[in-house]
């Protein structure tokens, strides 16, 4: 199954990824612009055998050690794009079209994955294209949702909307959950209307260690610590045992961090 866990540095659905790891899913194709720690953890846990991505790194810190190890050992196959190409793939998928034309120059990435140019029927120019990406499931984490499944995001939206509209099925986790109609006045923040959303789970701090604008900050200390944890395969597995397999759910994961630790991340200082 092809899974897209959206959120460009912001609102990364970590709680959902951890639950996928706990349930020992396997043979997933993971897609993401910036795999980030979320996919490094999922790759370390062996849930994926294919990665469709742009820019694999720990933003501001360095490489993704588990990703690197999996590539070096041949445990995972790769399909690599630029960020813009990934968004263009989703835009085609969202529009129900098979391809999308790009201005972007052809890079050497095209040597490693399917690509084609078309001839513009007006100008005769050779136009690079990318194929549509239609994930089976796109997962988003949002600040607010209502019981009709309407999803609301404030702050950076990244490629969340394109990824969701391109997917066959959309599921969401949310920081806060409201009865229907309460959020109607926040129309500018509407990410997706409820009819496009199959299920919503209420998971406060579900984006930790990434951030939720207006609610809590990015846990930069953990992003920095992750390199040392993940570089050592044994230590990485021990971390997964302790923090993911060893916790029954996200609530237990958060209580392992402890209230004091999390309060430092919360905007305004209190959870």
């Amino acid at each position: 199954m092809t899974l897209y866990m959206a959120g460009f540095s912001h609102l990364i659905p970590f709680a959902a990824a951890h639950e996928i790891i706990r349930q020992k899913k396997s043979h997933l194709t993971l897609c993401r612009a910036t795999p980030d720690l979320i996919y490094d953890q999922m790759i370390a846990a062996g849930v994926a055998d294919r990665l469709v991505f742009s820019y694999a790194g720990n933003p501001g810190v360095g490489l993704l050690p588990a990703f690197r190890r999996a590539v070096e050992q041949g445990d995972i196959s790769l399909e690599e794009y630029t960020h813009f190409e990934m968004v263009a793939r989703l835009e085609a998928g969202a529009a129900g079209l098979p391809f999308w034309p790009l201005k972007s120059p052809i890079t050497d990435l095209v040597l490693r994955r399917p690509a084609a140019t078309v001839t513009c029927p007006y100008t005769g120019a050779a136009v690079p294209t990318v194929p549509a990406l239609n994930p089976d499931v796109t997962w988003v984490h949002v600040q607010a949702a209502d019981s009709d499944g309407n999803l609301y995001v404030s702050g950076l939206v990244g490629e969340m909307k394109e990824a969701a509209l391109a997917a066959k099925t959309v599921v969401a986790t949310t920081e806060s959950f409201y009865p229907a109609d309460v959020l109607r006045t926040r129309r500018g923040e509407l990410l997706l209307p409820g009819f496009r959303v199959s299920a919503v789970a209420h998971v406060p701090m579900g984006a930790h260690p990434s951030y939720a604008s207006g609610l809590y900050e990015r846990d930069t200390r953990f992003y920095q610590q992750w390199t040392a944890i993940a570089k050592d395969a044994e230590r990485c597995q021990a971390w997964l045992e302790e923090w993911i397999y060893g916790t029954a759910n996200h609530e237990q994961y958060l209580s392992k961090w402890g209230q004091d630790y999390l309060n430092h991340l919360v905007v305004g200082g209190m959870l």
Binding site: G96, L97, P98, W100, A116, V118, P121, T129, G188
Partner: protein, 287 residues
């Protein structure tokens, strides 16, 4: 940097033969004061690019300054057909290219994305491809499906009317944004009128309703009632009474000349007096 300009200074920059895309839709949020200023400027051979055109297209055709219109629809909504547009189509005095609402958006979007075309299924299996001979098809390189290739539209100018703006050219749209943002991004030069100029800090409070961004605008002017006789939600609705008078005036040369003298060859404040004055407009049209 302040981009505040008078409407006159804006239209002074628009040369004969320019292509102009106009924001708003149907009888909603058309930049009518800017359009009247353009009409007074004496510019000729304009190409108009609209999605759902109405009084702005009809007025400029009626003044004989339009040589081509790219459009999905032109009409007066509940009041029926657009009289000058209809007459020009019947006499073929103006070149017309009929698109669809989505393809106009895709054509502007292609220009914004700097690609020569964007693919779509819109139009396949319809007469659009026969009515508009300029559309060509393209074969998808991955699955060999045939799709419509919508050519990029590169307007020289965009004219918009929004609720609020700051002097740097950010614009707040409170109701339906229509295709204004696409117009602003696709056009080489964008001029925007607004009901009220606010300072930047006040404007920021509108969050995502700040739809037009300053990097896309070259001129801003405050013109209260600048969309009249179309509406500007949520403040005032379209002036159907005035539009009925307009339609009635188009049937007859003497009445059309009188309408032009009264309503077009008038500065905006004079125009507002001639349509009954601000207080009268408030009582009739405020929502």
């Amino acid at each position: 940097m302040s981009k505040l300009l008078s409407a006159q200074a804006m239209v002074d920059q628009i040369p004969d033969g320019a292509s102009v895309t106009i924001g708003g839709s149907s009888l909603s949020r058309k930049p009518m004061a800017l359009v009247r200023a353009l009409a007074r400027s004496g510019r000729k051979n304009l190409t108009l690019i609209v999605n759902v055109g109405g009084p702005e297209v009809d007025l400029l055709i009626g003044l004989g300054v339009v040589s081509k219109v790219i459009y999905a629809f032109v009409g007066f909504e509940v009041l029926g057909l657009a009289p000058h547009f209809r007459a020009a189509r019947q006499t073929q005095q103006v070149e017309f290219e009929e698109w669809t609402e989505y393809t106009v958006m895709a054509g502007l979007d292609a220009a914004i994305k700097r690609v020569p075309f964007l693919p779509t299924r819109a139009g396949l299996g319809t007469d659009v491809l026969h009515v508009n001979r300029s559309f060509r098809t393209i074969e998808d390189p991955f699955s060999s499906q045939t799709l419509v290739a919508v050519p990029a539209i590169h307007p020289d100018f965009a004219l918009l009317h929004v609720n609020y703006a700051d002097d740097r050219g950010n614009g707040v749209i409170l109701g339906d944004g229509h295709i204004d943002v696409l117009c602003a991004k696709a056009a080489r030069t964008t001029f925007m009128s607004c009901e009220r100029v606010l300072n930047g800090e006040e404007l920021q409070k509108f969050g995502r309703d700040v739809q037009v961004l300053r990097i896309h605008t070259q001129g801003v002017t405050e013109i209260a009632w600048g969309a009249h006789p179309t509406g500007c939600a949520p403040e005032y609705r379209a002036d159907l009474k005035h539009l009925e008078e307009y339609i009635a005036a188009t049937g007859d040369a003497a009445r059309w000349n009188a309408y032009k003298d009264n309503m077009v060859w008038a500065e905006h404040n004079q125009y507002l007096d001639r349509v009954g004055g601000r207080e009268h407009l408030v009582s009739r049209l405020h929502v």
